[in-house]
């Protein structure tokens, strides 16, 4: 009798465990299926870009060949022509200058603003923080019209220095928001300890908060870099000569002539243009995720 009493619950427990294991297996299978589908869906365009960049113009134009493989031999011609016979290097240089400046300006402004709004509680700081985030919600497709007047008024129309002025309207609000969340997640005892140790507010920021919030700062930097590197609407609206143009607009306008698409060079240009963000992401991905998560949960 006692054996039966023990074995019934033990059989039930085994059945429950087995059911849990089966359920977990199905969840894993479903996860893998969807993840693989998503990965394929998102990797097809970059794959197509890479394959096309290493084909000859003749192969690209030949409709009978398989577009997914390099059938007639690997070539670097598209890159050679792109780098020697077009203004691609000028666009690249302009983009790099604009991006570095925008990232620097954004980080200085947003770290200082976030420290003030997130840690130095003052009257209206909460409303100001929300207000800053709201400005991020205004799309650049609406902002470029009034900004056109401003850029023109300061004499920076058709100058990439104008981009350094206008890109922060896209980057500062979101970066400030990320940093506010990050700074607020740092325990308040840390600044109190620093105050007692003899630190002023600036020392507290530079010696304690910036090092502690480094993942958040890196996340914000990557965001500012990506936005600045990939901006399209502002340069499209404000830049029109080739020597001032940036990668996104310059590549498209110089390599698409009416209905003639130089696909090989376009893909080679896109590949080169995608390289810097890819490299940065690859090295700083962990920080980026940590930074975004902290901002999202504690902000």
């Amino acid at each position: 009798m006692s054996t039966a009493a023990v074995s019934v619950p033990s059989t039930r427990a085994q059945a429950k465990r087995s059911s849990l294991r089966r359920s977990r297996r199905w969840a894993l299978v479903a996860s893998y299926v969807f993840l693989i589908l998503f990965a394929i869906f998102f990797l097809i365009p970059p794959y197509y870009m890479v394959v096309t960049a290493f084909k000859t113009d003749a192969e690209v134009a030949h409709m009978a060949t398989n577009p997914w493989i390099i059938a007639n031999g690997f070539t670097l011609d598209q890159f050679k022509i792109l780098l020697t016979q077009t203004d691609f290097l000028i666009y690249f240089k302009n983009t790099a200058i604009v991006t570095v400046c925008v990232v620097c300006i954004t980080m200085v402004v947003s770290v200082l603003a976030a420290f003030a709004l997130g840690r130095m509680k003052f009257w209206g700081s909460g409303i100001l923080a929300t207000g800053i985030f709201l400005t991020y919600l205004v799309p650049d497709t609406l902002l470029f019209i009034p900004l056109f007047q401003i850029v023109k008024a300061v004499g920076l129309l058709n100058s990439y220095w104008g981009m350094i002025l206008v890109y922060p309207t896209l980057t500062v609000p979101f970066c400030t928001w990320i940093m506010i969340g990050y700074f607020q997640s740092i325990p308040k005892e840390l600044d109190e300890a620093a105050l007692i140790d003899g630190a002023g507010h600036m020392q507290m920021l530079t010696k304690i908060f910036i090092p502690v919030a480094l993942p958040g700062i890196i996340a914000a930097t990557i965001f500012a870099f990506t936005v600045s590197w990939a901006a399209f609407v502002y340069p499209m609206a404000f830049l029109y000569s080739s020597d001032q143009q940036v990668l996104t607009v310059g590549t498209v306008t110089s390599l698409i002539r009416a209905d003639v698409y130089k696909w090989g060079m376009l893909m080679a240009g896109a590949l080169l243009a995608a390289a810097p963000p890819l490299i940065i992401y690859a090295f700083l991905m962990d920080y980026y995720i940590a930074g975004l998560t902290a901002g999202a949960t504690k902000g």
């Binding site: 325990p187 109190e192 300890a193 105050l195 007692i196 140790d197 010696k207 090092p211 502690v212």
Partner: protein, 367 residues
């Protein structure tokens, strides 16, 4: 090292008065513990001394100088926080040296001071580790080291042991006492744990609802509480409180707890309690003063024994707690493990009336 003085210090948050005009004198080298329940104003008081909270009214002096308007860094104090507040990106050495670096001490002196503090706290081998690589107890030692290296006038501790497990807490408590005996700096320590307060303090300050209920050495607070709050707060398990009436029995007095139980008041206290005759009062007696009857236990009269039906029996090893009720009020007694009966059994108990307290329920004051 310096004395700390609080004169009619008030702290208000809007309409809420967190600290209500308190006065406190802490002499040089003394270890004072502020103790009380959550929200009693003890941490606010400590933070006002530190300069982390502005005071609404009154004066705070450190070393004879009024520091009301001085920022924390100019008060020459060091503070140890509940959650350690170590800088996570710095090693233990850098954490301890940070305050000295900001004050532009020469490198050699910083090194010498940090190493000296590390030796006191036995953390010399941890100096190159970051807080993440330290256990809770080690982190707390580094936090204490950060305070010691500054050689400040006053140490402030804000519930520094609350995050530690019970065993480590006892260990660190001894460590803090040892460090104070070595460095002899005036110390203000905040805790809600009355055991911590009793074991560490030269004097304990019991706070409740923003006021100081009583200041005194631990033994004085334990044996001569001035209010019902102090009597109930200090001691574990807490003092038993029972409604009673004081009756006159010729020259003697007795405390009536129920129809069947009337305990004799010691002759030496009769005059003191005479004014309470006929009044509804509160009788207070600690669990350790309700024991099994035995000869030579200090009882003043043989009428102090009574029978009780035990509701709960809690064996603790070297002693056993027994719970019973008198007129519906629960009473705890601390008895010999061999003498304790089972739950539901009737047990003879003895009240050691030499340690009784009589409290006026209207004022909460101990007579």
């Amino acid at each position: 090292m310096a004395e700390v003085t609080l004169r009619q210090v008030v702290k208000r948050y809007g309409d809420v008065e967190a600290v209500r005009s308190i006065d406190l004198d802490i002499p040089n080298n003394e270890f004072v513990v502020l103790v009380g329940p959550s929200g009693c104003g003890k941490s606010t008081t400590l933070r006002m001394i530190a300069g982390l909270e502005e005071i609404t009214a009154g004066d705070i002096s450190i070393g004879g100088e009024v520091v009301n308007d001085l920022p924390p860094k100019d008060r020459d104090i060091a503070m140890v926080f509940q959650n350690y507040a170590l800088y996570p990106h710095m090693t233990s050495f850098e954490n301890m040296a940070f305050g000295l670096k900001l004050r532009k001490f020469p490198k050699a002196e910083i090194k010498q001071r940090v190493e000296h503090a590390a030796r006191i706290l036995d953390i010399s081998e941890l100096l190159d580790r970051r807080p993440k690589a330290l256990s809770g107890g080690q982190r707390q030692r580094v936090a204490m080291g950060r305070a010691i290296v500054r050689n400040p006038k006053v140490f402030l501790f804000d519930e520094p042991l609350s995050n530690l497990d019970a065993k480590l807490r006892v260990q660190m408590r001894t460590e803090i006492k040892r460090v104070h005996q070595k460095v002899k700096t005036t110390t203000v320590y905040v805790t809600h744990d009355q055991v911590e307060a009793m074991t560490l303090a030269d004097r304990v300050v019991v706070m409740n609802n923003g006021i100081i209920e009583q200041i005194g050495p631990p033994q004085e607070l334990y044996h001569k509480p001035r209010t019902r709050f102090v009597a109930g707060f200090i001691g574990s398990p807490a003092m038993n409180f029972l409604p009673c009436t004081v009756e006159s029995n010729g020259d003697a007095l007795r405390v009536r707890l129920s129809d069947k139980i009337a305990l004799p008041v010691p002759v030496s206290r009769a005059a003191q309690y005479r004014s309470a005759v006929g009044k509804e009062m509160t009788f207070g007696l600690r669990p350790e003063h309700v024991t099994e009857p035995k000869s030579g236990n200090g009882a003043s009269g043989g009428d102090s024994d009574f029978a009780a039906v035990l509701d709960v029996v809690e064996p603790m090893g070297m002693e056993t707690m027994v719970y019973f009720t008198i007129n519906g009020t629960e009473v705890c007694a601390r008895v010999d493990p061999n003498a304790a009966g089972e739950a539901g059994a009737t047990m003879r108990l003895h009240a050691n009336m030499d340690h009784m307290h009589l409290i006026d329920p209207a004022t909460g004051l101990v007579l």
